[in-house]
């Protein structure tokens, strides 16, 4: 039998005490490790509740110099990998049709004047049957910007032919319910010609007209609180229809395909080149008969359904993190009910969405409901809307930015109808001008939920679609990096009060590290003591065995085995003690917020056992090779 094992057996108190010494040190180390491991995870969870965001400042010159296009701008591509950037949220704006719902219309919210731009290409689309009663031709000069032969843009004056056509309304064919309270008796159109530059109307004839309701004519009045309130301008309420918006100009047409064409006599015409969307069609008998005819099929099958499609439409913002949107950063967008989209849902591209409180309220949608969403590719334009001023007029010199998207068109359907779960209802200003704003018909969906082709052409005109998520607490460092490149001041930073919590989080992290260090140091000292005591106590046995002629390698092996068994026993007891102590303490006093780190703790115990055995091995080597002749 191994003489050292026998020694341990014969000296049970020594064996127990040394094993206990090592067990205590192991328990200490395991608890320190568990605390460090748990706190690290806990702090990571807390930190993930904070998002530090850099939002572009649209007025910053530095921002414009950042080459804000999809190819060059991203901060994290291989060529321009910025430090401290976690990821960029390059958002995509798409159109969406939501089955069995109605969009929120500005007029319902008493928003008038240039607020009509929010509805222009969706809720305000309409088709009416009307009789042309009067046409007045117009000829004017206008200044346009055009590139010369060398490609340099220059201003030149051109002659433009135009007209004003008045119609009396015979039948409303398609009109959003929200506008139906305001009787439409006459409509005025103007300016747009057929593709061959011919005047599309003749007096006395009947036409189907397609366009957008301009908005309800209104004036301001003052109530008893001297608050300005809008009042319907009854005198003009019946005359409110236009074919195309002045913003629907060549190169940026959203509804039709408007082009400026030079006519025979050095004059220009604005013509509709769209093959699929005519803005008028003459009919002779009844509207119904015309719609049933071959000529009317485009109206019956495309235009009228398209109008109805757009009454249930909205914008979808595909995002990787709604918290990085300025409104949410500032706090004026917030989750009113339910929750925000989780990180797992963003990563998995889950079919979940956030809807606005106004839209949810209008459609009776609650958190947990599922909505049918059909996605459409839509061009988006950031246009300057004249600011409404007091007397029912817009002041063209004062403009505010509004982001408008083209109507949903069947040919632009990007994805089949899919069900999305409403996980949260957010509150936000319903219709607010500004480059960073989204209207009440906006849905936020994880970017990965739509896997089709995405285009972010609108990024250069809408700074609200871009932000950078940086590591918490690193905004200063990030700004310094940008500053070095001459882009300082391009971003504003929001950390959701992480700065205030940072000290406490750091302190918690440092404390867990301290506990771990204390555990390790104590363990090292305890192992040193253990080895010293063992070697000191068994020294006589070693010398005795060696003097009796036992080979040093045999002594080494036997010593190593016996002490290793003792060491492993101590470490196993210590690991179990640490596990039980830590978990019983944390479970009873701290509930389940601190995770049970069983596997890491077992790993820690294994490592400690291995370290101790290695130390024992070296110790046994040393003790077995001691010089027998020259001992003190």
């Amino acid at each position: 039998m191994n003489i050292f094992v026998r020694f341990l057996k014969n000296n049970l108190s020594f064996t127990m005490l040394t094993a206990l010494l090592l067990a205590l040190a192991t328990a200490l180390c395991c608890i320190g490790f568990s605390a460090w491991f748990s706190v690290k995870k806990q702090i990571s969870d807390i930190s993930s509740g904070y998002t530090t965001v850099a939002v572009p400042i649209q007025t910053s010159e530095a921002w414009f110099s950042l080459e804000m296009d999809a190819e060059h701008f991203p901060l994290v591509n291989d060529e321009r990998r910025f430090p401290y950037v976690k990821y960029e949220d390059t958002r995509y704006l798409m159109g969406a049709f939501v089955k069995d719902t109605k969009s929120v219309v500005t007029i319902e919210k008493n928003k008038v004047g240039s607020y009509r731009l929010f509805d222009m290409y969706s809720n305000a689309l309409a088709v009416v049957a009307a009789k042309c009663v009067k046409i007045e031709n117009e000829h004017s000069k206008t200044n346009i910007l055009e590139p010369d032969e060398n490609g340099i843009w220059e201003s030149k004056s051109i002659d433009v032919d135009s007209y004003t056509a008045k119609f009396s309304v015979l039948e409303i064919v398609a009109l959003n319910d929200s506008f139906s309270d305001y009787p439409m008796k006459t409509v005025t159109l103007g300016g747009l010609y057929d593709a061959d530059c011919k005047l599309p109307y003749e007096e006395g004839k009947t036409y189907l007209l397609f366009g957008a309701v301009e908005g309800i004519p209104y004036t301001f009045d003052y109530n008893e609180n001297l608050e300005a309130v809008f009042v319907i301008d009854e005198a003009n309420v019946s005359d409110q229809f236009i074919c195309y918006d002045p913003n629907d100009l060549p190169g940026r047409s959203l509804l039709f395909n408007v082009e400026r064409v030079k006519g025979d006599a050095e004059t220009y015409f604005y013509v509709n080149k769209s093959e699929r969307l005519p803005f008028c069609a003459e009919y002779n008998s009844s509207v119904q008969a015309f719609l049933e005819s071959e000529e009317g099929s485009i109206w019956k099958d495309t235009i009228i359904p398209m109008c109805k499609l757009n009454y249930s439409s909205g914008s979808v913002v595909l995002t990787d993190n709604v918290k990085s949107i300025l409104g949410f950063c500032r706090g004026n967008y917030f989750i009113l009910d339910g929750r925000t989209i989780s990180e797992e849902e963003y990563n998995a591209g889950s079919k979940v969405c956030l809807v606005s409180a106004s839209w949810a309220s209008k459609n009776g949608i609650k958190v947990g409901d599922w909505i049918d969403v059909e996605l459409y590719e839509t061009k988006t334009l950031s246009i300057s809307a004249p600011k409404p001023v007091r007397v029912g007029e817009n002041d063209d010199s004062l403009t505010r930015v509004v982001c408008v998207k083209e109507p949903l068109k069947f040919e632009n359907k990007a994805a089949l109808s899919e069900k999305y779960e409403v996980v949260g209802i957010y509150s936000a200003p319903e219709f607010e001008f500004g480059a960073y704003e989204f209207d009440a018909n906006t849905f936020f969906i994880p970017n990965k939920a739509y896997t089709g082709t995405k285009s972010n052409d609108s990024l250069d005109s809408n700074v609200g679609l871009y932000s950078v998520i940086i590591e918490n607490g690193m905004q200063e460092e990030f700004e310094n990096e940008l500053d070095k490149l001459g882009f300082g001041g391009a971003f504003a930073y929001f950390d959701g009060e992480y700065g205030a919590a940072e000290g406490a989080l750091d302190s918690a992290k440092e404390n867990s590290e301290r506990m771990f260090i204390v555990g390790i140091v104590s363990f090292i000292v305890a192992v040193a003591l253990f080895l010293f005591i063992c070697s000191h106590s068994m020294n006589k046995s070693v010398i005795g065995a060696r003097l009796l002629g036992v080979k040093s390698s045999t002594v080494k092996n036997e010593f190593c085995k016996a002490v290793s068994i003792l060491a492993v026993l101590g470490v196993v007891i210590g690991t179990c003690c640490g596990l039980i102590l830590f978990n019983s303490v944390t479970a009873k006093l701290i509930s389940n917020e601190i995770m049970l780190p069983v596997i890491p703790e077992l790993l820690c115990g294994t490592v400690l056992a291995a370290v101790t055995v290695i130390a024992v091995f070296f110790m046994s080597k040393k003790i077995s090779n001691s010089n027998l002749m020259q001992r003190k």
Binding site: A35, S358, R390, P429, E432, V525
Partner: protein
Amino acid sequence: MSAVLKISLSLLWRRRTQSILLIALVALIVAVSFYLSGIAYYEETAIEKMINSTDINCIVTDARGMNSSKLSMSSVLVQSILGVFEDDDNRISEFVKDVHAMGVVFLTYPDGMEMHRIYDFASDKMLCEFEGAKIELFDGFTEDIFKTSEQVCIVSDSVEPEYDTENNPVISIGLERKKTQLRIVGTISNSESNVIYVPLNFQWEKDASELFLVDSCTFTIKDNNRLEEAKNEIYKLFAKPDLLNGYDSKPFAVVVQDDTYLESLDGLRSNLRMVRVLIPILTVLTVAIGFFASYLFTKGRIKEFAVQRCLGLKRRRVFFDIIGQQTLLAVIGYIIGLLVAVITKSIHDIYSIPNTLLLLAIFISGASCSAFMIAKVNPIILMKTED
């Protein structure tokens, strides 16, 4: 130096490896004890700092929480928040700070002008850096003037001012029958030219008390330690936003944006609780290691004490010799541990020193137990003991 002390020292010197290890052990126990006692203190201080420095935003919305920008809310509510109308039932102003509020008035004169009542520059989104507005106040005026009810304003730098009798720049404004002249105290560039910014509590007639409408209002909680109390006060006057709310009793609601703060605070407090519970455990384990080490070391010298007993030393003498030697090592270790704690700035208060002295006593008691057991046994038996 007495002969006994000399012998003790020479004994300790002969066992210097053992002595150094024991000194190191005591030093470690003492340093760890100081180190651990500081942990909770620092974390508690950091959490307290977080509580005091976190701004919890509160946003006034309509009762359903759907809108926060065009509220048309009576100025009475904002003045309650500001503490103008404080009474026993309404102590909301005690609990809030950094109030931002604004209201828009469409003036009849000059035609097309808007008057924005603001409590400070942060009250109006159009004055923030994103919109590129740059405000320049004239000498002698600060932003605080917007917290008064003075008849002053700031206007776009493109506005041509009039001048009063004292040659101060002024602008005349009117709303229906009301007319007054405002002193211009600053200008704004890169902003809308048809907006005049006046103090929130601006009155058309001096010393009059007029009601007006406020479009938006936000504020922060003054003392986060009294968050619940503050919320109770807020919800006396305002509703909690809910899509099912009516507009009858409380037409306006307040969203208290404290979710992240509370989650973090809960997490950090649970962490602190864990630290507080683990510290005594870690300390006890450290001390237990010291106790057993001390005991084992002393027990290892059993032959030596047996010889001393055979040479005629009394039990008590042997016992006190052992205690003396261990105490000497422990005191040296304690001093080293204390120095380490001072160097690493682990001592946060003087009250932790008695605790470490107690640990020292526990360590010495380990040796005492061993010494007591050795001293009371017959020396012949001691000599025969194998270990």
